[in-house]
Symmetry: C2
Subunit: 156 residues, 2 copies
DNA sequence: CAAGATTGACGTTTCAATCTTC
DNA sequence: GAAGATTGAAACGTCAATCTTG
Protein backbone atom coordinates (compact mmCIF):
# COMPACT_ATOMS: atom_id res chain seq x y z
CA UNK A 1 0.00 0.00 0.00
CA UNK A 2 1.56 3.30 -1.02
CA UNK A 3 0.74 6.87 -1.92
CA UNK A 4 1.36 8.43 -5.28
CA UNK A 5 3.82 11.07 -4.12
CA UNK A 6 7.28 10.31 -2.85
CA UNK A 7 6.80 11.65 0.70
CA UNK A 8 3.82 9.46 1.44
CA UNK A 9 1.52 12.44 1.91
CA UNK A 10 -0.13 12.45 -1.47
CA UNK A 11 -3.43 10.89 -2.36
CA UNK A 12 -4.53 8.07 -0.07
CA UNK A 13 -5.04 4.66 -1.64
CA UNK A 14 -8.45 3.06 -1.77
CA UNK A 15 -7.46 0.71 1.06
CA UNK A 16 -6.37 3.64 3.22
CA UNK A 17 -9.61 5.47 2.52
CA UNK A 18 -11.46 2.35 3.56
CA UNK A 19 -9.67 2.32 6.90
CA UNK A 20 -10.62 5.96 7.35
CA UNK A 21 -14.26 5.30 6.48
CA UNK A 22 -14.41 2.38 8.91
CA UNK A 23 -12.94 4.59 11.59
CA UNK A 24 -15.62 7.26 11.11
CA UNK A 25 -18.43 4.76 10.85
CA UNK A 26 -17.42 2.80 13.89
CA UNK A 27 -17.00 5.95 15.96
CA UNK A 28 -20.46 7.22 15.10
CA UNK A 29 -22.13 3.93 15.87
CA UNK A 30 -20.38 3.09 19.10
CA UNK A 31 -20.80 6.56 20.60
CA UNK A 32 -24.49 6.47 19.70
CA UNK A 33 -24.84 3.08 21.31
CA UNK A 34 -23.06 4.06 24.52
CA UNK A 35 -25.11 7.25 24.68
CA UNK A 36 -28.34 5.30 24.35
CA UNK A 37 -27.36 2.73 26.97
CA UNK A 38 -26.36 5.38 29.48
CA UNK A 39 -29.56 7.36 28.98
CA UNK A 40 -31.65 4.22 29.17
CA UNK A 41 -30.07 2.71 32.26
CA UNK A 42 -29.19 5.75 34.37
CA UNK A 43 -30.81 8.68 32.53
CA UNK A 44 -27.57 10.55 31.98
CA UNK A 45 -26.22 12.10 28.75
CA UNK A 46 -22.71 10.99 27.94
CA UNK A 47 -21.50 14.60 27.98
CA UNK A 48 -22.54 14.85 31.63
CA UNK A 49 -20.73 11.65 32.45
CA UNK A 50 -17.62 13.04 30.81
CA UNK A 51 -17.69 16.23 32.88
CA UNK A 52 -18.43 14.43 36.15
CA UNK A 53 -15.69 11.86 35.55
CA UNK A 54 -13.10 14.56 34.86
CA UNK A 55 -14.07 16.48 37.99
CA UNK A 56 -14.14 13.38 40.19
CA UNK A 57 -10.62 12.48 39.07
CA UNK A 58 -9.26 15.96 39.83
CA UNK A 59 -7.85 17.00 43.24
CA UNK A 60 -10.70 18.10 45.55
CA UNK A 61 -13.16 17.26 42.78
CA UNK A 62 -12.78 20.57 41.04
CA UNK A 63 -11.25 22.15 37.93
CA UNK A 64 -11.11 25.57 36.36
CA UNK A 65 -13.55 25.96 33.50
CA UNK A 66 -10.61 26.32 31.14
CA UNK A 67 -8.99 23.08 32.27
CA UNK A 68 -12.29 21.26 32.13
CA UNK A 69 -12.94 22.51 28.61
CA UNK A 70 -9.59 21.12 27.48
CA UNK A 71 -10.22 17.81 29.22
CA UNK A 72 -13.56 17.20 27.56
CA UNK A 73 -12.59 18.71 24.17
CA UNK A 74 -15.29 21.37 24.03
CA UNK A 75 -15.36 25.10 23.33
CA UNK A 76 -15.30 27.42 26.34
CA UNK A 77 -18.77 28.76 25.73
CA UNK A 78 -20.04 25.28 24.99
CA UNK A 79 -18.79 24.17 28.37
CA UNK A 80 -20.39 27.17 30.08
CA UNK A 81 -23.82 26.06 28.86
CA UNK A 82 -23.17 22.43 29.65
CA UNK A 83 -22.10 23.19 33.21
CA UNK A 84 -25.17 25.43 33.52
CA UNK A 85 -27.40 22.45 32.86
CA UNK A 86 -25.48 20.08 35.13
CA UNK A 87 -25.49 22.71 37.86
CA UNK A 88 -29.27 23.08 37.56
CA UNK A 89 -29.50 19.36 38.22
CA UNK A 90 -27.39 19.83 41.37
CA UNK A 91 -24.49 17.64 40.24
CA UNK A 92 -21.86 20.39 40.17
CA UNK A 93 -21.38 23.79 41.80
CA UNK A 94 -19.48 26.86 40.72
CA UNK A 95 -17.16 28.81 43.00
CA UNK A 96 -14.85 31.68 42.11
CA UNK A 97 -11.14 31.09 42.50
CA UNK A 98 -9.79 33.01 45.55
CA UNK A 99 -6.29 33.57 44.15
CA UNK A 100 -7.43 34.76 40.71
CA UNK A 101 -10.95 36.06 40.72
CA UNK A 102 -11.21 35.87 36.95
CA UNK A 103 -11.24 32.12 37.27
CA UNK A 104 -14.15 29.87 38.18
CA UNK A 105 -14.01 26.43 39.67
CA UNK A 106 -16.53 23.79 38.77
CA UNK A 107 -16.84 21.36 41.68
CA UNK A 108 -18.61 18.04 41.71
CA UNK A 109 -21.23 17.75 44.47
CA UNK A 110 -21.93 14.74 46.66
CA UNK A 111 -24.97 14.02 44.56
CA UNK A 112 -22.82 14.35 41.46
CA UNK A 113 -20.41 11.74 42.82
CA UNK A 114 -23.30 9.46 43.70
CA UNK A 115 -24.80 9.70 40.23
CA UNK A 116 -21.38 9.18 38.67
CA UNK A 117 -20.73 6.03 40.68
CA UNK A 118 -24.08 4.79 39.52
CA UNK A 119 -23.28 5.53 35.89
CA UNK A 120 -19.66 4.42 35.82
CA UNK A 121 -20.13 0.64 35.81
CA UNK A 122 -22.80 0.93 33.13
CA UNK A 123 -20.60 3.03 30.89
CA UNK A 124 -17.49 0.93 31.44
CA UNK A 125 -19.42 -2.25 30.78
CA UNK A 126 -20.51 -0.67 27.50
CA UNK A 127 -16.90 0.10 26.57
CA UNK A 128 -15.95 -3.46 27.46
CA UNK A 129 -18.76 -4.92 25.39
CA UNK A 130 -18.65 -2.69 22.32
CA UNK A 131 -14.95 -1.84 22.14
CA UNK A 132 -12.61 -4.03 24.13
CA UNK A 133 -14.36 -7.35 23.54
CA UNK A 134 -14.19 -7.12 19.76
CA UNK A 135 -10.55 -6.23 19.81
CA UNK A 136 -9.38 -9.37 21.46
CA UNK A 137 -8.71 -11.11 18.21
CA UNK A 138 -7.24 -7.92 16.80
CA UNK A 139 -4.24 -6.37 18.44
CA UNK A 140 -5.27 -3.87 21.06
CA UNK A 141 -1.69 -2.88 21.67
CA UNK A 142 -1.29 -1.95 18.01
CA UNK A 143 -4.45 0.13 18.18
CA UNK A 144 -3.19 1.90 21.26
CA UNK A 145 0.15 2.64 19.63
CA UNK A 146 -1.69 3.75 16.51
CA UNK A 147 -3.81 6.31 18.33
CA UNK A 148 -0.94 7.59 20.33
CA UNK A 149 1.00 8.08 17.09
CA UNK A 150 -2.01 9.80 15.56
CA UNK A 151 -2.43 12.12 18.54
CA UNK A 152 1.24 13.01 18.48
CA UNK A 153 0.99 13.69 14.77
CA UNK A 154 -1.96 16.00 15.07
CA UNK A 155 -0.12 18.42 17.26
CA UNK A 156 1.92 19.26 14.13
CA UNK B 1 -3.82 -6.97 29.88
CA UNK B 2 -7.00 -8.68 31.04
CA UNK B 3 -10.46 -8.03 32.35
CA UNK B 4 -11.66 -9.02 35.77
CA UNK B 5 -14.35 -11.42 34.59
CA UNK B 6 -13.68 -14.69 32.86
CA UNK B 7 -15.44 -13.85 29.58
CA UNK B 8 -13.42 -10.71 28.93
CA UNK B 9 -16.50 -8.51 29.06
CA UNK B 10 -16.17 -7.25 32.60
CA UNK B 11 -14.53 -4.04 33.68
CA UNK B 12 -11.95 -2.65 31.25
CA UNK B 13 -8.41 -2.30 32.52
CA UNK B 14 -6.77 1.10 32.86
CA UNK B 15 -4.75 0.43 29.71
CA UNK B 16 -7.88 -0.45 27.75
CA UNK B 17 -9.62 2.70 28.99
CA UNK B 18 -6.61 4.68 27.85
CA UNK B 19 -6.90 3.27 24.34
CA UNK B 20 -10.57 4.22 24.37
CA UNK B 21 -9.81 7.75 25.55
CA UNK B 22 -7.15 8.18 22.86
CA UNK B 23 -9.63 6.98 20.28
CA UNK B 24 -12.22 9.58 21.32
CA UNK B 25 -9.70 12.36 21.63
CA UNK B 26 -8.07 11.69 18.29
CA UNK B 27 -11.42 11.49 16.53
CA UNK B 28 -12.56 14.84 17.91
CA UNK B 29 -9.36 16.59 16.95
CA UNK B 30 -8.87 15.16 13.47
CA UNK B 31 -12.48 15.75 12.41
CA UNK B 32 -12.24 19.31 13.68
CA UNK B 33 -9.05 19.83 11.73
CA UNK B 34 -10.40 18.38 8.49
CA UNK B 35 -13.57 20.45 8.88
CA UNK B 36 -11.54 23.63 9.30
CA UNK B 37 -9.33 22.89 6.31
CA UNK B 38 -12.25 22.12 4.03
CA UNK B 39 -14.11 25.26 5.05
CA UNK B 40 -11.00 27.36 4.70
CA UNK B 41 -9.89 26.07 1.31
CA UNK B 42 -13.16 25.39 -0.49
CA UNK B 43 -15.83 26.85 1.80
CA UNK B 44 -17.66 23.57 2.29
CA UNK B 45 -18.81 21.94 5.54
CA UNK B 46 -17.64 18.37 5.91
CA UNK B 47 -21.25 17.18 6.21
CA UNK B 48 -21.95 18.54 2.72
CA UNK B 49 -18.89 16.79 1.37
CA UNK B 50 -20.11 13.57 2.91
CA UNK B 51 -23.53 13.82 1.27
CA UNK B 52 -22.15 14.80 -2.12
CA UNK B 53 -19.57 12.03 -2.09
CA UNK B 54 -22.18 9.39 -1.26
CA UNK B 55 -24.48 10.60 -4.03
CA UNK B 56 -21.70 10.85 -6.59
CA UNK B 57 -20.69 7.27 -5.88
CA UNK B 58 -24.25 5.97 -6.28
CA UNK B 59 -25.76 4.83 -9.62
CA UNK B 60 -27.12 7.85 -11.51
CA UNK B 61 -25.90 10.08 -8.72
CA UNK B 62 -28.95 9.56 -6.58
CA UNK B 63 -30.13 7.80 -3.42
CA UNK B 64 -33.33 7.55 -1.41
CA UNK B 65 -33.30 9.77 1.66
CA UNK B 66 -33.37 6.66 3.82
CA UNK B 67 -30.35 5.11 2.11
CA UNK B 68 -28.49 8.37 2.25
CA UNK B 69 -29.22 8.73 5.96
CA UNK B 70 -27.74 5.29 6.59
CA UNK B 71 -24.70 6.02 4.44
CA UNK B 72 -23.80 9.21 6.26
CA UNK B 73 -24.87 7.94 9.71
CA UNK B 74 -27.37 10.70 10.50
CA UNK B 75 -30.94 10.84 11.76
CA UNK B 76 -33.70 10.98 9.11
CA UNK B 77 -34.92 14.39 10.19
CA UNK B 78 -31.36 15.64 10.48
CA UNK B 79 -30.76 14.61 6.90
CA UNK B 80 -33.93 16.33 5.74
CA UNK B 81 -32.66 19.68 7.01
CA UNK B 82 -29.16 19.07 5.73
CA UNK B 83 -30.39 18.26 2.24
CA UNK B 84 -32.62 21.36 2.44
CA UNK B 85 -29.54 23.52 2.83
CA UNK B 86 -27.52 21.78 0.17
CA UNK B 87 -30.49 22.00 -2.19
CA UNK B 88 -30.78 25.74 -1.55
CA UNK B 89 -27.18 26.02 -2.68
CA UNK B 90 -28.06 24.17 -5.89
CA UNK B 91 -25.78 21.19 -5.28
CA UNK B 92 -28.53 18.57 -5.04
CA UNK B 93 -32.11 18.21 -6.23
CA UNK B 94 -35.05 16.24 -4.90
CA UNK B 95 -37.34 14.11 -7.04
CA UNK B 96 -40.09 11.77 -5.94
CA UNK B 97 -39.62 8.09 -6.69
CA UNK B 98 -41.92 6.98 -9.53
CA UNK B 99 -42.35 3.39 -8.34
CA UNK B 100 -43.02 4.27 -4.69
CA UNK B 101 -44.28 7.77 -4.24
CA UNK B 102 -43.58 7.76 -0.52
CA UNK B 103 -39.90 7.79 -1.33
CA UNK B 104 -37.77 10.77 -2.35
CA UNK B 105 -34.56 10.71 -4.33
CA UNK B 106 -31.79 13.14 -3.62
CA UNK B 107 -29.76 13.66 -6.80
CA UNK B 108 -26.43 15.42 -7.12
CA UNK B 109 -26.47 18.25 -9.69
CA UNK B 110 -23.74 19.12 -12.18
CA UNK B 111 -22.73 22.00 -9.98
CA UNK B 112 -22.69 19.61 -7.04
CA UNK B 113 -20.31 17.33 -8.90
CA UNK B 114 -18.12 20.27 -9.83
CA UNK B 115 -17.90 21.48 -6.24
CA UNK B 116 -17.23 17.95 -5.04
CA UNK B 117 -14.36 17.50 -7.48
CA UNK B 118 -12.94 20.75 -6.21
CA UNK B 119 -13.22 19.65 -2.59
CA UNK B 120 -12.13 16.04 -2.98
CA UNK B 121 -8.37 16.54 -3.40
CA UNK B 122 -8.32 18.95 -0.47
CA UNK B 123 -10.15 16.55 1.80
CA UNK B 124 -8.14 13.53 0.73
CA UNK B 125 -4.91 15.40 1.19
CA UNK B 126 -6.08 16.17 4.73
CA UNK B 127 -6.75 12.50 5.38
CA UNK B 128 -3.32 11.66 4.00
CA UNK B 129 -1.62 14.26 6.17
CA UNK B 130 -3.50 13.82 9.45
CA UNK B 131 -4.35 10.13 9.36
CA UNK B 132 -2.39 8.02 6.90
CA UNK B 133 0.97 9.72 7.29
CA UNK B 134 1.16 9.18 11.05
CA UNK B 135 0.25 5.56 10.72
CA UNK B 136 3.21 4.60 8.62
CA UNK B 137 5.28 3.64 11.61
CA UNK B 138 2.25 2.00 13.19
CA UNK B 139 0.55 -0.82 11.41
CA UNK B 140 -2.24 0.44 9.21
CA UNK B 141 -3.30 -3.07 8.33
CA UNK B 142 -3.83 -3.86 12.01
CA UNK B 143 -5.91 -0.72 12.38
CA UNK B 144 -8.00 -1.64 9.40
CA UNK B 145 -8.59 -5.14 10.71
CA UNK B 146 -9.35 -3.68 14.12
CA UNK B 147 -12.08 -1.39 12.82
CA UNK B 148 -13.59 -4.04 10.67
CA UNK B 149 -13.74 -6.30 13.70
CA UNK B 150 -15.29 -3.49 15.73
CA UNK B 151 -17.90 -2.76 13.09
CA UNK B 152 -18.80 -6.43 12.83
CA UNK B 153 -19.07 -6.58 16.60
CA UNK B 154 -21.40 -3.62 16.87
CA UNK B 155 -24.02 -5.27 14.72
CA UNK B 156 -24.53 -7.65 17.63
C1' DC C 1 -4.22 45.48 26.96
C1' DA C 2 -4.49 40.14 27.87
C1' DA C 3 -6.81 36.22 30.20
C1' DG C 4 -10.96 33.82 32.09
C1' DA C 5 -15.50 33.26 31.65
C1' DT C 6 -20.18 34.43 30.32
C1' DT C 7 -23.99 36.17 27.27
C1' DG C 8 -26.86 36.95 23.01
C1' DA C 9 -27.75 35.74 18.53
C1' DC C 10 -27.55 32.45 15.23
C1' DG C 11 -27.34 27.92 12.98
C1' DT C 12 -27.78 23.05 13.71
C1' DT C 13 -29.59 18.67 15.70
C1' DT C 14 -33.01 15.97 17.91
C1' DC C 15 -37.68 14.38 19.56
C1' DA C 16 -42.25 13.74 18.93
C1' DA C 17 -46.13 14.60 16.05
C1' DT C 18 -47.80 14.81 11.31
C1' DC C 19 -48.73 13.94 6.51
C1' DT C 20 -48.78 10.96 2.58
C1' DT C 21 -48.53 6.71 0.30
C1' DC C 22 -48.33 1.72 0.37
C1' DG D 1 -51.81 0.16 10.12
C1' DA D 2 -46.81 0.59 8.74
C1' DA D 3 -43.09 2.89 6.05
C1' DG D 4 -40.89 7.12 4.07
C1' DA D 5 -40.25 11.57 4.73
C1' DT D 6 -41.14 16.13 6.61
C1' DT D 7 -42.25 19.74 10.17
C1' DG D 8 -42.46 22.48 14.76
C1' DA D 9 -40.65 23.04 19.12
C1' DA D 10 -36.98 22.55 22.10
C1' DA D 11 -32.24 21.47 23.27
C1' DC D 12 -27.68 22.02 21.95
C1' DG D 13 -23.22 24.03 20.06
C1' DT D 14 -20.69 27.94 18.17
C1' DC D 15 -19.26 32.64 17.01
C1' DA D 16 -18.50 37.26 18.10
C1' DA D 17 -19.14 40.69 21.53
C1' DT D 18 -19.03 41.71 26.46
C1' DC D 19 -17.84 41.95 31.25
C1' DT D 20 -14.52 41.53 34.89
C1' DT D 21 -10.06 40.90 36.87
C1' DG D 22 -5.09 40.76 36.44
Amino acid sequence: MQSTSRDGVGIPTAAQLHVWASFLRYHAQVVDLLEDELREEVGMPIAWYDVLAQLAAAPEGRLRMQELADAVVLSRSGLTRLVDRIESAGLVERASCPSDRRGTFATITDEGRARLEEARPVHRAGIARHFVAHLQRADIAALGDGFDALLRGIHH
